[in-house]
């Protein structure tokens, strides 16, 4: 029934998606090694970003039915250990951060995108222990002890992967917004099946929308990256 959603206040309310991301910049006691650069980034990109989010958390979070929200100082945090693209990290995360927020906003891995933030587009797809999941629909704390692969981690020694090369050769990206997600789903597919048929490719990529509708080129590119080169 999801596709028939009616527009409503919740969609434009500031807490939808953005609050916790801006909240992180305010957080003292965030000890991730990436924190300094994140803060510099926010400071450096202009006052408007800061001002837009400068509302006290209490006010932003005062949406209906949230009477017992915790105060800002009490936002629960946890320390997790995760491997991202082969590198091990110890990070302090807010319990409420999605994996996508952790990757994009705190580890500065902006390759995985945030489209719908609700499991309906696939732009945020990353691999968790080798399997594609929507990073918008799982929590960073739940990734404790897991190994994450993002588009930044494809390829070796600075070179792009065979699949990425095929994407270029077959013009698989148009605007490119869905591309990292498509690449992650296709990478996992080729891992479990080195020679998929066109239908198997379509099925494996069914959870990745392309608003440019470049599906044929994407399927072609994946087939070209199979062992037999799609022959």
């Amino acid at each position: 029934m999801d596709e028939f959603r009616e527009p409503d206040a919740a969609d434009s309310a500031p807490e939808n998606g953005d609050t916790s991301r801006s909240g992180s910049a305010r957080q003292e006691g965030h000890t991730s090694e990436f924190d300094v650069s994140r803060r510099d980034f926010i400071g450096g990109t202009g006052a408007t970003i800061v001002a837009a989010n400068a509302m006290p958390l209490g006010a932003q979070e005062a949406a209906p039915s949230s009477g017992n929200d915790l105060a800002e100082t009490e936002v629960p945090r946890s320390r997790i250990a995760i491997t991202v693209n082969g590198a091990r990290h110890q990070v302090d995360v807010e319990d409420r951060w999605t994996l996508n927020e952790l990757l994009r906003d705190h580890l500065e891995l902006t390759g995985s995108k945030l489209g719908c933030n609700r499991g309906e587009c696939g732009a945020c797809t990353v691999l968790v222990d080798g399997e594609p999941v929507y990073s918008c629909s799982t929590l960073a704390v739940w990734a404790d002890g897991r190994s994450i692969l993002t588009v930044e981690g494809l390829g070796e020694g600075g070179a792009i992967s065979r699949l990425q090369q095929a994407f270029i050769e077959h013009n698989a990206p148009q605007c490119g917004f869905c591309t990292s997600g498509q690449l992650m789903s296709a990478t996992a597919l080729l891992e479990r099946n080195a020679n998929p048929t066109a239908n198997e490719v379509r099925e494996a990529l069914a959870g990745n929308l392309c608003r440019c509708s470049n599906y044929n080129a994407i399927v072609e590119a994946v087939l070209a990256a199979t062992e037999t080169g799609g022959a």
Partner: protein, 336 residues
């Protein structure tokens, strides 16, 4: 997102204790499997447990040991841990072999990404996808006291068993589990209990706010599928309004117990048409001790829509249900 605490219990007892402790302090609590449903609700600030607001505490079940697998049990049936992923269910050879209806139902859910994260228990316990509830209307399912669909946009709502809420039960696994006569193991403060999947789901006229019997501090631990007495042929047939990534408009889970080419007993359970997985006993009876022919399947389809009461905008579901049942029965019987 609202600030909440995430807890990571290592055992079922600990999970129940954490939930109880939170409730005692007046905090609302939700169990989390894959979170593919739950997090959407939390982000939109839609109450997950009706009447208790957006959760203050999430009890993450992914660290609970030993409930993420399919195992053969002492009685010759299968025990499926509640945290088993939908991908694992779809790929499980024992299921594919003997209980295809459940593997097919799991495969039909959403997308690979959601099936990787999504769990059996989360699938069965997912909240309704009625657009009013999901978009913040304070209806019965959110703990309020009215239904907006009855006089509103009810294209996707119930044609059986509705009132005072007219949701359809959203789970694809639920009809398959009921068709297989599964039993559910539930853990709570009073210890464990086991009940028939048929008795797990409740109609809105018994409890309008909840879809099942679980209390706020109870969790679904596993599903137990009995050993069939004879050869089983089964099939899950799902109609969507696009090819993938969405819930059933109408579905049918069919399980036939066969003796050669004669069907001894049948269980037919519908999805997408009622607030609970909907059994159609009149249709099932027609199949008892019969050879399954196209003519019989047609009659079974007709019997399956007896008593349907469509709303203003969903009458199309009545003939659709009839044909879905007819085709599902034929497909199940054709299984070698």
């Amino acid at each position: 997102m609202k600030a909440f605490v995430n807890e990571n219990p290592g055992s079922i007892d600990e999970a129940v204790m954490l939930a109880q402790a939170a409730l005692r302090e007046g905090r609302s609590v939700s169990f989390a499997g894959g979170g593919t449903d739950l997090l959407q609700l939390v982000k939109e600030r839609v109450p997950n447990r009706p009447g208790s607001g957006v959760p203050d505490v999430l009890v993450n079940l992914k660290r609970v040991a030993g409930i993420d697998q399919v195992t053969r049990n002492d009685q010759g049936g299968l025990t499926i841990g509640g945290l088993t992923s939908l991908t694992d269910l779809g790929a499980n050879p024992q299921l594919r072999d003997r209980y295809a209806v459940l593997a097919e139902a799991a495969d039909s859910v959403a997308t690979r990404q959601i099936r990787n994260a999504g769990t059996l228990a989360g699938n069965v316990c997912q909240r309704p996808w009625c657009w009013y509830y999901r978009n913040g209307f304070d209806c019965y399912k959110a703990g309020g006291n009215q239904c907006f669909s009855i006089a509103g946009e009810n294209q996707l709502h119930a044609i059986f068993g509705g009132g005072p809420s007219f949701i359809v039960h959203p789970s694809d696994l639920a009809p398959a589990l009921v068709a297989l006569d599964a039993r559910f193991r539930v853990a709570g403060p009073g210890g464990d209990r086991s009940l028939s999947s048929n008795d797990f789901f409740v109609l809105p006229n018994e409890d309008v706010a909840h879809e099942n019997v679980l209390g706020d501090d109870e969790l679904l631990v596993s599903a137990v599928i009995p050993e069939p007495s004879g050869e089983i042929r089964s099939h899950f047939y799902k109609i969507m309004d696009r090819e993938t990534w969405t819930h059933a408009v109408v579905s049918a889970a069919v399980v036939l117990e066969m003796d050669g080419e004669i069907c001894r007993t049948a269980r037919i359970v519908l999805g997408g048409v009622a607030p609970i997985p909907w059994r159609v006993p009149a249709a099932e009876r027609l199949l008892a001790d019969q050879r399954v022919t196209p003519e019989l399947a047609d009659s079974v389809g007709i019997a399956s829509i007896e008593g349907a009461r469509p709303l203003a905008k969903n009458a199309y579901k009545v003939p659709l249900t009839r044909r879905v049942v007819e085709r599902a029965v034929l497909a199940a019987a054709a299984r070698a």
